[in-house]
Symmetry: D2
Subunit: 335 residues, 4 copies
């Protein structure tokens, strides 16, 4: 039985708390740290059977019974808390991105060297049933060698403009998931990035020096080409699809819906919209990633998505931003 402490009880911290409580049998959440605790959150944490609720995450790190921590605090704290947690000898699950600075991530990476600590990064989409099935088909050789990877990733609504600055912009905040997905599906790192980006959804986004619409081309190290299309606003909801095309064929995933019901009437033949946003669409993936994190600790296996994946995706995000601003292909070696 693994004892887990959750640092940060925002939206995603709560998701992990519920997943572990209900679905990860050989782990339990022993404590939660949240500096800005409101009543509703407190009640929710208690309803999950957790009684140790702290304002300061250091109390979790100081608890010798804690085996692992989930870092779900704001992005700017991920790296420093990671360092402290490594010092304290805790296994770590860290939400993405680890940091917007490569140096800080490399510092964490260095700190991990020589330890036997697990460090998993929260690229939950790898664990989504659809993307996992696409990857499984590729791994099983069903489409041969990957030639073209296509990822469609469109949010149903842009974030609050205030959040955009903090978040690091569309590449660091949103497309970073797609960068990791590209590497995951291709089974390869990226060599070069070209981005055509623009502002078509909301001028307020452009006013902050960010983009809301982008076509991103990645040249993968294994020779495959990848293209990602991003929009901050799809009128029909969260659009999350991928295709891998290879010399033997192609595998593609579609969106999930609440039901398979289809209505035929004088207006046409109409099915449901995609599930609205990430909490609806990816709930299963959050549970699976938690299960796999705990499993890696219990069985002393490699985590399915480690610090190198976290580092690579941030590098691609930085290259993407550079490419969009300078309007030229940017080699990863430049970053």
């Amino acid at each position: 039985m693994i004892n887990i402490g959750i640092i940060g009880a925002g939206r995603i911290g709560k998701v992990h708390l519920e997943s572990i409580t209900y679905h990860v049998k050989n782990a339990r959440v022993k404590s939660v740290a949240e500096p800005y605790l409101n009543d509703e959150t407190k009640e929710f944490i208690e309803s999950m059977g957790v009684t140790e609720i702290y304002a300061d995450y250091k109390q979790i790190l100081a608890d010798p019974e804690i085996d692992a921590v989930l870092i779900c605090s704001s992005t700017d704290t991920h790296a420093s808390i990671s360092m402290e947690a490594i010092d304290a000898g805790k296994h770590i699950f860290c939400e993405k991105p680890i940091d917007q600075s490569i140096e800080k991530i490399e510092e964490v990476k260095k700190a991990l060297e020589g330890t036997n600590l697990k460090y998993q990064v929260g690229f939950n989409r790898r664990f989504d049933h659809n993307f996992a099935a696409v990857r499984a088909a590729v791994n099983a050789g069903k489409i041969g060698d990957p030639h073209i990877i296509k990822i469609t990733s469109r949010d149903p609504a842009p974030p609050n403009p205030a959040y955009i600055k903090v978040s690091g912009g569309i590449f660091m905040d949103m497309a970073i998931h797609d960068f990791d997905m590209a590497c995951f599906l291709a089974g390869s790192d990226v060599e070069e990035v070209y981005v055509a980006a623009t502002v078509l959804v909301d001028p307020a986004i452009g006013a902050q020096g960010d983009f809301d619409t982008a076509i991103i081309t990645l040249k993968m190290a294994n020779g495959a080409l990848c293209v990602i299309d991003n929009s901050r606003r799809a009128a029909y909801g969260y659009d999350q699809r991928a295709e891998v095309f290879g010399n033997k064929g192609s595998v593609a995933s579609a969106n999930d819906t609440l039901s398979t019901a289809i209505i035929s009437d004088e207006n046409g033949v109409t099915g449901e919209k995609p599930l609205y946003f990430f909490l609806e669409r990816y709930m299963q993936s959050y549970t699976t990633e938690m299960f796999d994190f705990v499993d890696a600790i219990v069985k002393d296996k490699d985590v399915p998505c480690g610090i190198d994946a976290g580092l690579q995706s941030v590098k691609i995000a930085l290259a993407a931003k550079k490419s969009a601003v300078e309007n030229r292909p940017v080699k990863m070696s430049e970053i």
Copy 2:
């Protein structure tokens, strides 16, 4: 080069005229007979290069250069014209149903005996790309032995009430195509028929002693069960689907649409309605049946859909009507 005379220049006669002219290379339409010729029809016939236009079909039968006739006149004339055409030594393509009376069809069948004349019945749906693909899968053994056959057959709009009486009602006029399809897909005759029929679309149909909505169960001679659902009015257009389920799997066809375009918006994910009615949906099948009819003559092969199919389907229609009226399963041996 086969010379063909078309008897009856209504909607379906014109379809055959155009198909042969454009797509059946080893046949030509030499003459057309139509007692009620209007200017538009005359112009259309001439635009197809046909100059011999008669009021009386007997002129076609009397022409020694004519090899084959298409009987596209009203149903009540099919049997007697068939008899005359056999006498005149012409191959015959006859629209369905041959007649509403089994005796008359059997008379035609008898008259054909000993001749080398081809007699094809116009069950065009057998030649439709979708239903033909379903049948081909069954024939190829892909679903094993058929256990359940399901046919959905719904018209977009009921016929003129005046036509209903003449047509012989829903079973003789509409479901007869489905009866033939059941035999075609199952590769078997029918042994017993049960019909649950009602009037839900238009009371005027009920007022004429007919039905507009029906569930028809057929016990096939080969042991399979078949179910047909009929409605005279589907708000979304012509619904024409089939499924054959067997011990190794299932094969099912869907409706055809004008395009594959699908719109995703705040209302859902919407594709096009099915093609509106038989002229839109089945145009290809009319051409293919004509091609196969001419091919059977040229190569002296069996026609793909002969008088026995024509007889069987009428018998099933009569059994269906009897079952609906008497509310009991009716054995084919009763007819």
Copy 3:
């Protein structure tokens, strides 16, 4: 907080135990009764936090803290335990069928009269996201008045022949879910039943006087027609679909799959098979029905699927069997 006792810790009893523990916040399972307890089951029950495990269900009924019981024992005990539970003043959730005898169900119904006890029957498919969406579309008037209801219900594999006798046969054991679904989707009771049934899957089933393949036609009290097709063995897995066709259009549901991944290669364009069987397909529905049962108790509302639904479905099953054996339509008033 509702205290629940589960009577019978077989497959479905365990499903309910897990659902309540994880997903029904205002209820807890206080005790479980199982006469044939093995180690694995005991361990599972304890892992859900339940310590009161009895051999005799009477201990649950005798516990004044218990508010409600789930009757998940063998079918032949449902009615008598229901009677005892009513005597003990417990709310009841009873698996289907309540009994194979109408008299016994009516006895239970009578016993409920005048009490304020909830009695829900386990027709879980009503709570399935797909069937619920079909029903919601009908209720919202999207397809107008229902004319034709079509239900496809095929199991991936027949039950153990030994079970067939006990189960009451295909109509009482398997199609009973479809009978309830027909009433649910049509919003109407049944007036008449006709069944064409045969043995095509396994002669051993026929040897016990049962059928494995059936087409069932229901005339609904509201005038609609319904057809159900059943097979005990679909090579591609559990086939669970429904369509309601009305004067304004049609709503249809498809099967669920593990993922949306589709592979295009030289063999065609291939998606996944349906989820294998009821535990895979209907897990969500079991949770929702439990949630609604507890909600009905807590808020003193009508249960969503009460004893009348349980009674009606058994009556239809008996009529279906009679129809199959006597090969004639059977009126519900005969039962």
Copy 4:
């Protein structure tokens, strides 16, 4: 009645001959010119009722009864024959590309000025039922302002290596259709092109300095972004899809198949592959473009796809090649 002369009786010349003969009522093919006539082609032309067959196309241009010519000869002759045909006062339908040299196309454009001659370019895909439906939805405002256009265009098999050199390479020969489609769907010209191209299908293609796999990003003049993915070999056949995503939603087309039949068995749920190649997939579009060309002449309307479209697409192809070779975004103003 328009008299047409066809210059070049290769594959596409024959397609147009058949289309006009069978489906374009107010036009007829009076003569065909083909320097390398074989018996089979001769027989085919005669079967279409054409008796004037020449070796030299100049005989067609010299015929005062000819109203229009179709230039279906090899690409390197398109521009010079266009010039001669304009001199001869004939309307012109010219296969794509008009020429690989912009100067030559501009010469043709200049020659057309002041005449009343129609000049249509053979971008047949605009007339395809699926792409036309996508465009119609955009035009009808159903998806709002276009933000992202996505085009998938993959051939089933690469051309003969010998042809690659002559053809001008993947951008001039294959992607040129997609460039025109991008402009058509976006309703806009292109401003900048970036191409990531590689050789993954066949090294022989690379040996000729060409590519077989490409991701092409277009910045459109109206602000939209467009991405095209090309491969010379899709194992499952011809993959021809498009999507236009805008602020109100998205419209996407799928591939056409020979039938809608779907087989469910122990291997999965399998539909047919896309129609094999352009003759199978685009036959309807060839007929429609011919119909519209004749209609533009008869009614003196603008052709649906004129010389500016022909010019723009060649410019984009040149920019694409430059971008691929220099690995940088290329502005259209550079070409």
